[in-house]
């Protein structure tokens, strides 16, 4: 039963998306179906999270082909945590969009479901080529979602975003081909075995293929110096889309961890990967902290903070170390939820403040400034990593796991936290305290109701709930990271499927017996 549950997080949104296209243009139906499906996705992800906690990854081999020729989906603790994160943020975004943003263009809900299918597929797939396919699926959905609402600014950001990612896809295919030429397989577990025995003459090729692949993943994760597309793209997208995009950069860093640890962890290319990821991640964190200071609008600041959160997660990934990476994994959940929440909050505030939008400046006092302010406080504390909420615990676990040998990491993360506190405090005091009239605009009261804030508030509640649940999550995240860095359980679960590695002749005979 749980073996088939593995495919559900991919199939459920994919089928829902097709149903939404067929279902016609009744927005009420589309909303109901989309919200129900995403809520079910969250339930499935949590069920998977509980199921894989016994330490054995669940593997689904489509058509029961042997792992190294067929398509496998693998769910382990790391995948399950990521699935829960994606489903949670997706649900908040879909509910937020159902208050009217989804009416500004066609097929919003179908595209979101395709986006979720691509993201979930990337978290689950057990081979490099399907990782490529899932990346393309989530990218094509994101290209279209970025255009939702229309306008020249979105088109311009779209051309840049599409062009960059097309280059990324080309490099991805070249890297996959090089690796296939060396190893003769694309299954991750099988590659781990094959690449560990790379002959001396192939090592330069392997290194080239591995680093090309890394370039692609770092482009998706928006690591410096390939971060320049992120702020423009995320700011151009409408709020619920930007909230989902906050998960997208996490997929890039996830791929670095999954592929870097399992595929290349024991290969001769491991040293080259280790040397690249951490410095670039730290550079990203610095750039993002400076960008957040310079932002003139709340949504622009949220985009730079998303980059910082992605950089911090990537820094933890770059440690390739149980405790350190586990700490980053703990950090990435509340931090992603908080950034998605900040995008949604910025949108709600832009509507409640009237013509100044979410520009960080003084304006007439808002209706319900108290509830907006309280929500902003929770999200800001989480993003900056201040006690007592889960963001602080995540950063602490990451620093603790990295240990005293990584002085630069400590300095960069703590310095960036300080800059984030300054940026968020400055923005908060301008937005909520620098009111130039005490009487709010009467026409805007409807936009400031609790209902407009519900999705962002739900994310904030989830973050607050993570704080008392921190012990359990810490254990889970640490085990997840340990089992990826030392993937013996993963290999044991995948490799024996269909009788393990065998020469091509045996595959053929197996084909005959089917």
């Amino acid at each position: 039963m749980t073996a088939h549950l593995v495919a559900a997080p991919f199939l459920l949104p994919a089928i829902t998306a097709c149903a939404l296209i067929v279902a016609g243009h009744r927005l009420a139906w589309q909303r109901a179906l989309s919200i129900a499906s995403t809520a079910l996705l969250l339930v499935v992800a949590v069920a998977l999270l509980v199921a894989v906690d016994d330490g054995t990854p669940r593997v689904l081999a489509f058509g029961a082909w042997p792992a190294f020729v067929g398509i496998v989906f693998v769910a382990d603790r790391l995948s399950a945590l990521m699935l829960v994160m994606a489903a949670g943020v997706g649900l908040a975004a879909v509910v937020h969009a159902s208050r009217g943003a989804d009416a500004r263009g066609a097929h919003f809900h179908a595209l979101v479901q395709f986006q979720l299918a691509g993201i979930d597929g990337a978290f689950l797939t057990g081979d490099l080529f399907n990782l490529f396919v899932c990346f393309e699926l989530l990218l094509i959905a994101s290209y279209a979602l970025l255009q939702h609402g229309g306008g020249a600014a979105r088109l311009k950001a779209g051309v840049h975003y599409v062009a960059l990612n097309l280059v990324g896809s080309a490099l991805f295919l070249i890297a996959v081909s090089v690796i296939y030429r060396i190893a003769g397989t694309l299954n991750m577990a099988d590659l781990a075995q094959a690449l560990a025995r790379t002959p001396e003459t192939d090592v330069p090729w392997l290194r080239a293929g591995a680093l090309l692949l890394l370039v692609v993943f770092l482009l998706k994760a928006a690591a410096a110096p390939m971060h320049l597309w992120l702020a423009g793209t995320y700011t151009a997208a409408c709020a619920p889309v930007a909230a989902i995009f906050a998960v997208l950069t996490k997929v890039g860093a996830y791929a670095v961890l999954r592929v870097g640890a399992i595929v290349f962890g024991t290969s001769p290319a491991a040293v080259a990967i280790d040397a690249v990821v951490l410095p670039l991640a730290l550079a990203t964190v610095v750039v993002a902290a400076i960008g957040a200071l310079a932002a003139a609008r709340l949504s622009v600041m949220a985009a730079w903070l998303a980059l910082g959160s992605s950089g911090t997660w990537l820094a933890g990934v770059g440690l390739f170390h149980g405790a350190g990476t586990g700490g980053a994994l703990f950090y990435v959940l509340p931090s992603t939820a908080a950034i998605a929440g900040l995008f949604l909050l910025a949108d709600a505030m832009a509507q409640a403040r009237g013509e100044v939008g979410d520009t960080i400046c003084g304006a007439p006092r808002m209706h319900g400034a108290g509830r907006f302010g309280a929500l902003y406080l929770v999200l800001a504390i989480t993003i900056a990593g201040l006690p007592p909420l889960a963001g602080f615990l995540g950063k602490t676990l990451l620093l603790q796991g990295a240990g005293p040998d990584h002085g630069v990491l400590w300095a960069v993360l703590l310095g960036a936290s300080l800059l984030n506190v300054i940026a968020l405090a400055r923005a908060g005091s301008r937005l909520f305290w620098a009111a130039d009239h005490e009487t709010p605009c009467p026409g805007l009261a409807a936009a400031a109701r609790w209902r407009a804030l519900a999705p962002a508030a739900a994310l904030a509640v989830a973050i607050v709930a993570l704080t008392p649940g921190a012990g359990a999550l810490q254990r889970y995240a640490r085990l997840a990271a340990e089992h990826v860095v030392a993937p013996s359980a993963y290999l044991d679960a995948v490799l024996p499927i269909g009788g393990g590695r065998s020469p091509v002749g045996e595959v053929l005979s197996l084909r005959e017996t089917r």
């Binding site: 600014a153 070249i174 296939y180 423009g232 939008g357 002749g505």
Partner: protein, 121 residues
């Protein structure tokens, strides 16, 4: 054979890269087309070059047949690349329509992350 294939991939890749770096959208689209040709040939070549080898059939010894996996991969890659290029064409046309300019860096109003507030709302 190998030299010819390598040379073709190299020339296509170089032309594609040069065109992708152009400032107008039409050459960029052409560049991506050439680049995807180069990549598809590269994926295909990853299976090894065998002249006249049959596809995967049971009557043939495994060593004599062409590697089927890169063929499957390249099919997928062609489909995906075609779809992406089509999307880019539509995007470029819409950009030309909206801004009246086919420059990749067409600067619409609200450049530099500062959108008009009514658009943000």
């Amino acid at each position: 054979m190998e030299a010819l294939l390598a040379l073709s991939i190299g020339v296509l890749g170089a032309c594609g890269t040069w065109l992708v770096l152009r400032a107008r959208t039409f050459p960029v689209v052409l560049g991506f087309t050439l680049l995807s040709y180069a990549v598809n040939l590269f994926v295909f070549a990853a299976g090894g070059i065998k002249v006249g080898a049959p596809a995967i059939v049971d009557a043939v010894a495994p060593d004599a047949m062409a590697d089927p996996l890169p063929q499957a991969l390249v099919l997928t890659a062609i489909v995906i690349g075609f779809g992406m290029t089509a999307f880019l064409v539509v995007l470029a046309l819409r950009l030309r329509g909206e801004t009246g300019d086919d420059s990749v860096d067409a600067v619409p109003e609200g450049h530099g992350g500062r959108q008009r507030p009514d658009e943000a709302a």
